[in-house]
């Protein structure tokens, strides 16, 4: 999942595209992982 997120961050996937195609709010459940949280922050800005 981290790799997948890093790829999305790396290629600047638009947040809307990413949110939709990653299962809506599904990844929010993994915010407790600091690295995932950081990358989600980069993707979503929050």
């Amino acid at each position: 999942m981290r790799q997948a997120l890093a790829a999305a961050v790396g290629e600047a996937t638009p947040p809307l595209t990413f949110r939709a195609n990653s299962g809506g709010l599904f990844l929010e459940e993994f915010r407790s992982d600091p690295e995932i949280n950081r990358m989600l922050f980069e993707l979503y800005g929050h």
Binding site: T13, P15, T17, F18, S22, G23, G24, F26, L27, G45
Partner: protein
């Protein structure tokens, strides 16, 4: 009877010191008290003696109270505890200082802004409780407190069922009649038909009660009245309330319709949720600016739709021009305060149809329609336009313009002025140059119209054509702000669907939107473009939020701006703000597949999958095979576990577009189908792998693994 002795002022019960009695009724006595342990004032409610002596009923009440105590909502009075001391059963609650709503409604009703404000708070409270399966069952003005600062608090959530001497769910005409022989029972004035008839209740009973309160706040009287409880109950079951529009002229049609829908006899005909009521109310507030603005006359506000002008040039390629002319008229008319204008997508659905003008008027809910034609021959231009009364089909005005192409802007201004003169004469002074002229170059203007024509189609090939048009327009007039904005929007859409990479799109979009902002910083188009750019390319949420907000402020009736702002807010997780904007966008453009799809995207982003699926389905009913709707419906179906339908929907999207985002979702590997068939494994694997979906190189990135 220990209660009376215990509850004298200055007496105590457990660690509560009684201060004064603040209420009494069939549901027990209420005292102001001080919690001496925590040092705070509370409301202390004694349970009726007959309940306290019935262990089963008491147990049910405790369970209900515990559930209500979990509600933490600014518009619901908080329950602190359910206790027993010295054989006295009581509950303690947040102490609300103020007046109950029944004392605040004047004979002529409340101001519209206040109605919407209070109703929004009530609907919000109901939505929160309904989410937890708690139904009030006894919503009435006496159960609504309004504090000195104007804050609204609902009392007695979910407690009515157990606290009443008789369960209102069991209240039939017969039991309602018992009041006549002295049995204490709450008035049926606020009961739903199903409640009176003793049928099974769900959350929609509260929506009916809310409708009665709304009606009362609006008119100063209840919608159903009767000399006795039985007569009143019969009226609720049978009669249709007098239309509010007949009682009070300044309410506005939308608010009246909303109230009427709450009061439908059949629960299925009402709003399906309190959240929908709240969203409808919020949309009313947004539509009228900062607050719900009362209408100023007894007649409905003037309204108009501009149908697409018919291209009579004998050349199908000229259709963009006739469409563009119509669109510019729509934009110009939309800027006039006090005039409601049907949006482009809704009006353009009637292109080439054979519907009677009166039917079109009814469907678009407008009083007047503009139709016309355009014939071009070289530089010569003939435009005909007529204004028609949609109610009776009579022509109100018509004109023919034989001019040169260079005069196109004057023709538009003249048409707008003529329409306004006929429909809303009071606005006449505002119409000079109502049509936005950001270029004087008619060739550039023509190219711009062509570019927007292609942009609206939103496919890779038409977006490329749109880019060409905008670029050529800019070559002819480098100061043409709208063409720069259009160019930036094209790259934004291409990026959204993954048809270009960020590296390719970002610099071009940035240059175009920067130029647009420099040339026309106050325009809707430039602000929208900057917001869209910040959203799609930079993840700059601050700029995106500010500019989307600015765009909707410039023209609150722009469904495009409202729709995208809703999506933006949804992405920020701001459901309370997002949904009203999405609702308003759909109200402004009810026949637009695109706008319903945007609403679906917003709802999906909020995790409201059922509603997202319904919105997408609505879009597909309006326009089958609409790409954005297929996408968002496929996603919602995935989330709902309806995998076969999801596959079919997304496969259709792939077939139609080959857009990388759709291909990525389905995967290019045939193994995917195998995984998709196993929902339990698929849900996780798809979601994780889809996180790595590349919007530029799907074939390399979209790998699905089983879990």
């Amino acid at each position: 009877m220990p209660y009376l002795a215990a509850m004298n002022p200055h007496s105590s019960i457990a660690h509560y010191r009684i201060a004064s009695k603040i209420g009494a009724g069939g549901m027990g006595e209420v005292y102001r008290a001080t919690d001496t342990k925590l040092g705070r004032d509370v409301a202390l409610k004694l349970l009726p003696a007959e309940m306290a002596s019935d262990p089963e009923r008491l147990a049910r009440f405790r369970r209900e109270a515990r559930a209500v105590a979990t509600l933490n909502h600014p518009h619901i009075v908080t329950i602190f505890s359910v206790e027993e001391a010295d054989g006295i059963h009581f509950l303690t609650m947040e102490l609300v200082e103020g007046q109950s709503l029944d004392r605040l409604i004047p004979e002529s009703g409340l101001p519209v802004e206040r109605i919407v404000e209070i109703a929004s708070a009530l609907a919000d409270a109901l939505a929160a409780a309904h989410d937890k399966g708690i139904v009030h069952r006894d919503l009435k003005p006496a159960n609504v407190m309004v504090t000195g600062e104007g804050r609204v608090k609902v009392l007695d959530f979910g407690l009515a069922k157990e606290m009443r001497p008789h369960d209102p769910a069991d209240a039939t005409l017969t039991s309602a009649g018992k009041t006549a022989v002295g049995v204490v029972l709450g008035t049926p004035a606020y009961m739903s038909p199903e409640q009176i008839a003793g049928r099974t209740l769900d959350h929609r009973t509260d929506i009916f009660s809310l409708g009665i309160i709304l009606y009362e706040m609006a008119s100063g009287r209840r919608p159903f009245e009767g000399a006795s409880s039985a007569e009143l109950a019969s009226t609720i079951l049978r009669d249709t309330p007098r239309p509010l529009t007949e009682i009070r002229a300044d309410l506005g049609n939308d608010l009246c319709r909303l109230i009427q829908r709450c009061l439908e006899k059949e629960p299925r005909d009402r709003f399906s949720s309190a959240r929908d009521v709240r969203d409808g109310l919020q949309a009313l507030r947004l539509a009228s600016g900062s607050g719900a603005r009362p209408a100023t006359s007894t007649s409905p506000p003037p309204s108009i739709a501009v149908l697409p002008f018919v291209n009579r040039s004998g050349d199908a390629d000229n259709e963009f021009f006739s469409d563009g002319l119509s669109e510019d008229l729509i934009n110009a008319l939309s800027r006039l305060p006090g005039l409601q204008v049907a949006s482009r997508t809704s009006a353009f659905r009637f292109r080439g149809g054979d519907l009677d003008i009166r039917q079109i008027g009814r469907q678009l809910e407008v009083a007047t329609l503009v139709e016309g034609s355009v014939r071009r021959s070289g530089a010569r231009l003939r435009v005909t336009a007529q204004l028609v009364n949609a109610e009776n089909g009579y022509q109100l005005w018509s004109e023919r313009y034989d001019r040169q192409m260079a005069d196109v802007f004057e023709i538009q201004d003249e048409i707008v002025a003529s329409i306004v003169k006929a429909v809303v004469p009071a606005l006449l002074g505002d119409t000079a140059h109502a049509v936005e002229r950001s270029t004087e170059n008619t060739e550039a203007y023509e190219l711009y119209l062509k570019g927007r024509h292609y942009w609206h189609q939103r496919s890779p090939s038409t977006l490329r054509l749109a880019i060409q048009c905008f670029e050529q327009a800019i070559q002819l007039d480098p100061q043409y702000a709208l063409a720069h904005a259009g160019l930036a929007d094209c790259y934004g859409i291409l990026r959204l669907y993954g048809w270009i990479s960020a590296e390719e799109g970002r610099p071009k979009a940035h240059a175009a939107m920067t130029k647009a902002m420099a040339l026309a910083p106050a325009s809707l188009e430039a602000n929208f473009s900057r917001a869209f750019y910040a959203f799609q390319f930079e993840r700059d949420w601050h700029v995106a939020g500010t500019d989307f907000q600015k765009a909707v402020a410039i023209n609150p009736r722009s469904s495009l701006a409202q729709g995208y702002y809703a999506v933006f807010l949804a992405m920020e997780g701001r459901a309370d703000d997002a949904v009203p904007h999405a609702t308003l966008a759909c109200q402004l453009d009810p026949l637009s597949a695109f706008i319903h799809s945007l609403a679906s995207v917003a709802l999906y982003s909020l995790g409201r999958l059922d509603e997202a699926e319904r919105a997408a389905q609505q879009a597909l009913e309006l326009q089958p095979d609409y790409l954005l709707a297929l996408w968002t419906r496929g996603l919602a179906l995935c989330g709902l576990g309806r995998h076969e339908e999801a596959i079919q929907t997304l496969e259709r999207a792939v077939t139609l577009s080959r857009a990388p985002i759709f291909v990525g979702l389905l995967g290019l590997d045939t193994r995917v189908r195998g995984v998709l068939m196993k929902p339990s494994a698929w849900c996780v694997s798809w979601k994780i792998e889809a996180a790595g979906v590349s919007t530029s190189r799907p074939s390399h990135r979209c790998r699905f693994t089983s879990v």
